[in-house]
Symmetry: C2
Subunit: 329 residues, 2 copies
């Protein structure tokens, strides 16, 4: 077993060590991160300018708050917090990493929802940022949220060691940009035949997996890796968490595709059945609903197995993998 | 006089120490940065994925290259390189800082040119990114360029000391985001009355100066500060460079406004007289052409005076201030 906080005197998940975490206990733990994240982002998006800032224009700040507060499962921050907790890293530092990855996630939603992209009017049951404000404001709010993510990681409160902070900056940049999330969105739009002379193309399984590993997987993987970087975990622990992060990233996407194929818009909080309408390749369209359900179960098992080296301390993250699968129902 | 490379055995501007740099010698020096920047960005935007990247989608990479290669005065990288050279910092490190700030500049142009923002079809005499590609691709290319800027600063080749790199990340984030460049663009659009129920409002001189300090000034100031951070310059040297960066930032904007009011679109490479058409407050509209010309001369003198502590070593940056004023003719 790898060295974790249980051996090093840390605390935080001790109550879980004796067995399987039930759904209510898991939900309570997730809710705590939801509340902590709301409070942290609310404070970070205050009106007072910081050193190096001239002023914080009210309309831009309002749009950034709209795009990032008051909603969202905060699943990425949860993964960052629980990954860091495995090693007993201070929770307030893990929340800074969680806030950074959540800001990247929220900026990507504000941009992806734009008319020139996915053209969505509804998100989390509310008007999307460009509907609540306007397109220019949504573009700028996204830009500023992305910039703020790197600002947070660079602050001393994230970690006293600059070497740890810069490793987080580099890892988040790689996960989010050309070769990660933004690249995945580009592949997705191209596959829909959205560009001049383009026809919708049904991607094969491998191409679909690459797209999904970039578009959603990279940021989920970073969330887990970020916790390990923050805690300066050793190579074996990082590798185990990376296997977990990869599996849960894939599981998350399959669950999302199942939700789109089968979910009710009122419950889901956004339009559903859009993938089929766009003739979009997903693992559901490639493997069918039953095949996707089996793949999802395999991915959850893979995620759980990756955490074996952490023993009972891994139970919260194992429960997170089960939670991902359950939200597809 | 502050300690500069002349006393510490550095080199690079020694040939200037004896007097005033003429326009041809200055142009040659600027051209060297233009060529170095083109080569560096070309290499950075190659097709091979780096560690942590899954793949680099061709269309996104093409758009990022289109938005950042083959044009531009590279004035921000020039300021970073020459500021760092004052202290004898290695040129290849200064070019990394210059590349980061140039990528932020290029992303901001790609986003500002969008139909939802300034709706420009022409930039540097070529179609803007969304005209050459499409809106979605221009948005994503901008997002990925911004992300890449922080990626570059986080790399060990920018500086072996993680503390220096993280200071650069934080300073660039503050200059570029909510309280800097993006915030300035928000104020600018709001002043044009672009939002629901908004009327164009003629900003007063102070509000116009705040807008310009954020929209264009912050990134120019960072370019100078970045060179000083990279060189780990002392407080007095940083303060002097910051006074210079502030003055040259203002001068740059006044020159730009004069160019818009008086320039020929064929020479300028983009539409002109747009400010007056948009009833936009600029220092030109507030002070008139002659007043703006006098203010520009004062700012150049201020920039030159700020460099006094560097003695003859400051001549290249003094010439840069004169260059800024001259491009307004």
């Amino acid at each position: 077993m790898l060295t974790t906080k249980a051996q090093t005197g840390g605390n935080g998940a001790g109550e879980m060590r004796s067995g399987t975490l039930n759904a209510a206990a898991f939900a309570a733990r997730l809710d705590t991160v939801v509340a902590d994240m709301e409070a942290l982002l609310d404070g970070l998006l205050g009106a007072a300018p910081l050193a190096g800032e001239r002023s914080r224009p009210a309309r831009l700040l309002d749009a950034m708050r709209y795009a990032s507060l008051g909603g969202g499962k905060r699943f990425r921050p949860f993964l960052a917090v629980e990954s860091a907790a495995l090693f007993g890293a201070p929770r307030e530092r893990a929340l800074m990493v969680g806030a950074a990855v959540e800001l990247v996630h929220c900026y990507s939603l504000a941009h992806d929802d734009l008319p020139a992209m996915d053209n969505d009017d509804l998100r989390r049951g509310r008007p999307t940022t460009h509907k609540a404000f306007d397109e220019a404001t949504a573009i700028l709010a996204g830009d500023a949220l992305l910039t703020l993510a790197f600002d947070l990681l660079a602050r001393p409160e994230t970690h006293p060691d600059a070497g740890v902070r810069i490793e987080l900056v580099l890892a988040l940049a790689r996960a989010s940009g050309l070769g990660g999330m933004v690249g995945g969105q580009m592949i997705d739009l191209a596959a829909e035949g959205r560009f001049a002379g383009g026809e919708p193309q049904r991607l094969d399984r491998q191409a679909t997996e690459t797209l999904e590993a970039m578009k959603t997987g990279a940021l989920l993987r970073f969330s887990c890796a970020g916790g390990a970087i923050l805690a300066q975990a050793d190579g074996a622990a990082r590798a185990a968490l990376d296997r977990y992060g990869t599996a849960i990233g894939k599981a998350f996407q399959v669950a999302d595709d199942l939700l789109d194929a089968e979910g009710d818009p009122a419950t889901v909080g956004k339009a559903t059945n859009k993938d089929a309408a766009a003739h979009k390749a997903t693992l559901v369209s490639i493997m069918g609903i039953d095949g996707a359900r089996r793949a999802l179960a395999d991915l959850v098992a893979e995620a759980e197995a990756a955490l074996a080296p952490f023993g009972a301390d891994g139970e919260v993250l194992r429960a997170a993998a089960r939670f991902v699968a359950e939200r597809s129902h």
